[in-house]
Symmetry: C2
Subunit: 191 residues, 2 copies
């Protein structure tokens, strides 16, 4: 088992691209090797089996989706109003949408989790933590709305992103942007 951490990370990132491009079944050692532009056999030397690759890809997506401290700081500087929530939601959707391969890979992993209990556990844990972090952050920040408000935004905006990334013409770009604001209007209580 090889240890070089940069190379390992590069392989995992390549695995995310492969997941998005070719689906969970397309995630093979050779495909990862190819995507990472690395000799055949390399990924096989770094990961014991496909499961290891899948779970580590799942963790990596979350790592890369995490907003930096800059975004968090900016959020905390905003006034505690619905308008601020609206702005933050637009930013969040844009940030996630821009990491297209990561989001699609995450969806592939969800479907794969249907068949792999270990992967399901890993993902469940991460999503729960993610939702809880969102709730905690929202409540602590003093923005209007309660835990259910946050969950409802989570649900609706996630599907909106999925819709945009898989069937972009169902809601055009403008309509999708308007729907973000509509979601905030309907879901976040006036302060």
């Amino acid at each position: 088992m090889r240890q070089n951490p940069e190379r390992r990370t590069a392989l995992i990132d390549a695995a995310i691209e492969v997941l998005a491009d070719q689906g969970a079944r397309g995630l093979t050692f050779r495909a990862v090797d190819g995507q990472a532009a690395v000799p055949v056999g390399t990924a096989s030397n770094y990961f014991a089996n496909r499961d290891a690759l899948l779970t580590q890809a799942g963790q990596r997506v979350f790592q890369r989706l995490d907003p930096g401290p800059a975004v968090v700081g900016e959020a905390l500087a905003l006034p505690r109003t619905r308008e601020s929530v609206d702005r933050l939601m637009h930013e969040m959707v844009e940030r996630i949408t821009n990491f297209r391969s990561g989001y699609l890979a995450m969806l592939e992993l969800r479907l794969e989790a249907t068949r792999r209990p270990e992967l399901r556990e890993v993902l469940t844990k991460q999503i729960r933590e993610n939702v809880q972090e969102n709730i905690d952050f929202h409540l602590e920040s003093g923005m209007p709305g309660d835990a259910d408000t946050v969950v409802m935004l989570y649900l609706s905006l996630n599907w909106l992103i999925l819709e945009r990334l898989t069937l972009p013409d169902v809601f055009g770009e403008d309509r999708a942007a308007a729907l973000i604001s509509a979601a905030v209007d309907q879901i976040v209580p006036p302060q």
Copy 2:
């Protein structure tokens, strides 16, 4: 090309199961043959190629997800209140959740549509129609709320179903049921 329509439908339904079980890449003629308990080569005789199988599976899922006239009639008999909407949403989520393989197959098809323009067109058309039908039905029925209300319910409940079907432990069964009511409470305006 074989014509027997019952057999053809049975093969498409088998394809839906295969999609849910093994993913889009797992959808091969042989796998469909196996699922349909039919001799090897049969699916190959009924469909020109995998693309035909994929698009027809997509259409079939919608066909099977369509609520019967019984459900529609029942809906129209309800009073025009938020409580009725709440009940209808619970029924809809349950109906869709119960067709697990169909919903998972639909997600696989969405991801596959990322790579196949023809499939993307077919699905886009169907989803647009589906959303529009929901909006029209809601508005014509006189239930409280406007088009955005319906879209917002569509977004949030779809992701809730996805969450339930892929990572059921993120929201437990009870929490998920409560979230349906919470969605209606927050999204549907009081009448």
